[in-house]
Symmetry: C2
Subunit: 327 residues, 2 copies
Amino acid sequence: MAAAAGVSYQTVSRVLNDSPKVRPDTRRLVLDAIDRLQYRPNRAAQALGLGRANAVTVVTANTMLYGYASTLQGIEESARLAGLAVGVRVVESDQDVDVRHAVEYVSDPSAGSVIVVAFDPAGANVLRALPPDVPAVAATEAGGVPGSERTMIFLDEREAAADATRHLLSLGHRTVHHVAIPSETVASARQAGWRGALEEAGVRVPAILSADWDPRSAYLAGRRLAADEGVTAILCGNDDTALAVRRALYEAGRDVPGDVSIVGFDDLPGVAYWTPALTTVRMDFAGLGRACLAALATELTGVVPPAVTPEAPRLVIRESTAPPRGR
Amino acid sequence: MAAAAGVSYQTVSRVLNDSPKVRPDTRRLVLDAIDRLQYRPNRAAQALGLGRANAVTVVTANTMLYGYASTLQGIEESARLAGLAVGVRVVESDQDVDVRHAVEYVSDPSAGSVIVVAFDPAGANVLRALPPDVPAVAATEAGGVPGSERTMIFLDEREAAADATRHLLSLGHRTVHHVAIPSETVASARQAGWRGALEEAGVRVPAILSADWDPRSAYLAGRRLAADEGVTAILCGNDDTALAVRRALYEAGRDVPGDVSIVGFDDLPGVAYWTPALTTVRMDFAGLGRACLAALATELTGVVPPAVTPEAPRLVIRESTAPPRGR
DNA sequence: AGGACGAGTGTGACCGGTCACATGATGCAC
DNA sequence: GTGCATCATGTGACCGGTCACACTCGTCCT
């Protein structure tokens, strides 16, 4: 390649990294040779020489769930546009072995920089265990992950959760029940917003029901709520949970939103076409992913580009919420 | 590292690639040094020396849709277990520029081997444009992608689609309508199975309605079907489509399954908790992904391991299908 | 005993870039 | 016209592995 352009390999390298110290006509010469030969620099060699690959690898506990998948998608898109290779590493659990393996994996220079999706204990543990010399930022739950000094980006769901709760209260519900999803923190931001709104309204704070990612667990939680005539409004940890809860209500003969109002979280595509269309909180996970990549870029280059800020979570009111019966 | 064990770097290399030509006690010596120093070989250097990275990169047009995401997940899991790094590259469209960029990306040795998710024209084009020297297999629609000699793995949805259609017919429906989703082939296997079953039953084959990935398009298709009193059974291209179609039916005052039966495709987690629970075809995309990785492994090593076969698609009957009214 | 052989190990070159530094060419001031 | 700074380019070493080959033994055969 170098020979083809009649210059040294170093000059080629300079052109590729567009160093300023190349005369315009020399640059032209090299560029010509480059596309004459369809030359593409070898990423492995670059990584070896540079000491770190021009890549970003996403460490995540999951790739299918909406929040995780969208975040990944946002990262991928930005990375591709920035010319970075994209890798994925899933951490199976928050157990030591799995966490250690993931950390070792990304410690290799060929992993490039790292974005840890720390929505859960597995991700959070990886984030904490990451050696300081591997460049990384994290996408976390609102508030961040304690025990790490890394840059953390998050969506502030607290206010939106409070909004959702107030919305239900303002419709005339006495209180709002909550079905929580797994979370890194003991009291997630969703939960905190919900509780805050209830307390602010001087209203009873019911016990929280917990569901995991299996829709069945949400369904079971729904059954318990359905059995209680007193529940008329439910804030669900996410849309999938809402779906299963709604099923349980349906089986118990309780109409949504006639007898019980439900609110979800995430705004999955398609949720507007449910029957009834789901009132939910829209979460801009893709924007979160893009913001992570931008943050990583500023961390690496030091230059601060126009800030990339994800959309703030916001309540989208549709059909699954209404005033309680007899009001 | 080599020094620490008192042997040459070559011997270390031999131990790492467990070459048989190392005396047991020498091997022990090296292994001891390895975990004493927490030594991990540099993947970039390996890739450079080997000429190709020990990795697999997945080329796909999408990462969020269920079929794509599950396939990716299946691949990731197997790859991780096999000690391979995992990369992702999305092809934005089937246009030349995008396809070329994706091909260039994976032509770099550091991409390792390639699995092309060719469910759509974008993926199919990449598959066809792949230089012969990059090792690759493809996950395709049933029947494969013409114009490429690569190994192709697919789920045979034809029979399941026919089953679904026959199921509806056997309930007493005069015919079954079809809302199709985007596909690589003009007549996808889902469509072919559907048509075959109708013809076999000597029944009228209605015009196909096409939807894209936007639920709104499926909703609009649903509206057209809802307006036609003659339609009592609909086979939808996937579950999301079914959801939006069901919404359109609901708005038109047509009950599911009382007035109209619907069947989906994919069996999304949660679909069992819809109201009504959706009758659908379960697709083992994760198994497909695992099978791709296994195929890649045999392609690379030549050894044929116990075949990894995904589950065959199969109809799961739930609540959204019933005999037509007045029968 | 001498030679062939094979197992186990070491040496040198190479993969394709990068960095640090040396060298040559050019421009400007005096 | 000379001196020096500056720009542009080339050279050598290096990143951390791999491959091909050479070498040193100990065994076995004749």
